[in-house]
C-alpha cells in the first residue's frame, strides 16, 4: 500500500520559509497569492495490513513534530 503523509505547520506557527517564498512569488509578478506555507511530503510503501494506529504512531513519534506540525495521512489507491 502506498501512503502519503502530508506534514504541515500548525496554524499560528510563523513560517519564515513560506514568507520568503511568498515574497519571491510576488517579486516574479504573481499577484493574488494571499499566503504561502511550506510543508513536507513523506511517501511510504507499507504492508497492506498496516493499521491506522501504526501510521498515526509513526507520524507522532518521528515524521511530524507535534509541537509545531500537523499531519494528514493519505492512502493512495494502487
Amino acid at each position: 500500500m502506498k501512503v502519503r503523509i502530508h506534514v504541515s505547520l500548525k496554524p499560528g506557527v510563523l513560517d519564515p520559509q513560506g514568507r520568503a517564498v511568498h515574497h519571491a512569488l510576488d517579486g516574479l509578478g504573481f499577484k493574488g497569492v494571499d499566503d504561502v506555507r511550506i510543508g513536507r511530503l513523506v511517501e511510504m510503501e507499507v504492508a497492506d495490513d498496516t493499521s491506522d494506529e501504526a501510521l498515526d504512531e509513526m507520524c507522532q513519534k518521528l515524521l511530524a513534530n507535534m509541537v509545531i506540525e500537523n499531519y494528514r495521512i493519505e492512502k493512495v489507491a494502487a
Partner: protein, 223 residues
Amino acid sequence: MKTAVVTFPGSNCDRDMWVALRDVSGREPVKVWHGDAELPDGLDFIALPGGFSYGDYLRSGAMAANSPIMRSVVAAAERGVPVLGVCNGFQVLTEARLLPGALMRNAAQHFICRTVPLVVENAGSIFTSAYAKGETIQIPVAHHDGNYFAADDVLDRIEGEGRVAFRYAENCNGSRRDIAGILNERGNVLGMMPHPERAIEADHGGSDGRRLFESVIGSLVGA
C-alpha cells in the same frame, strides 16, 4: 567525577565540548558514540554537542533523538543526571522531549555565526550558579535552526517556573520571548543554542562560557 560527550554522525562541536569539560574538570570526559547501546556506568554529567547530526535529515535533531544512545540519555536525565545540550544538542533534547518546544528555521532564513549578548535570567541553576542574575555575557552562536517556538501556555509556564536560563539581549533568530536557553522542570537538563564551549579562554575572544562549566562541574564536586 565522570563526564561524557556524546557524538552523533555529523556532530562537529564534540571536541570543543570535550576540551572545555577536560579543562574545567581536570579529567578527560568519556567519548560516547551514538550507536553505543548504553552509557558508561556512573556518569555524573552528559553533554550533547553542536553540529548537524544525521545531516539534519527530517528535522534538526529528529534522527539523533531516536538513536540507540538517546534511550540511555533520557533514562539518565530522568534519574537526575545533569545533561547539557548545546545548539544541535538543544535540538536533540527538544526532539527527545526532555525539553518543551521546538527549534525552527531562523526568522531571517540566514545561518547566523557571531558572538551575541545574552542575559542570564536564572542564576540559581546548577548550570548558571557562577553567573549573576541579570548579567549580560557574550557567547557565540552558529546555527540555522535556532528560532525557539513553544505555545503561549508553555512559555507562560516555563517563564513562571524560572526555567528560562538565558535570553538574547538582541533577538538574532526570531525566538519567542527572546529565549536562548531553557531548563527542564527538575533543573538538571539545560538546552541552549549559544555555544559556551567556544568561549572558555581568552584566546577564543572571550571566556564568558567558562563559568557555565565551572557551575556544573562545581555542583558535581564530591560526586
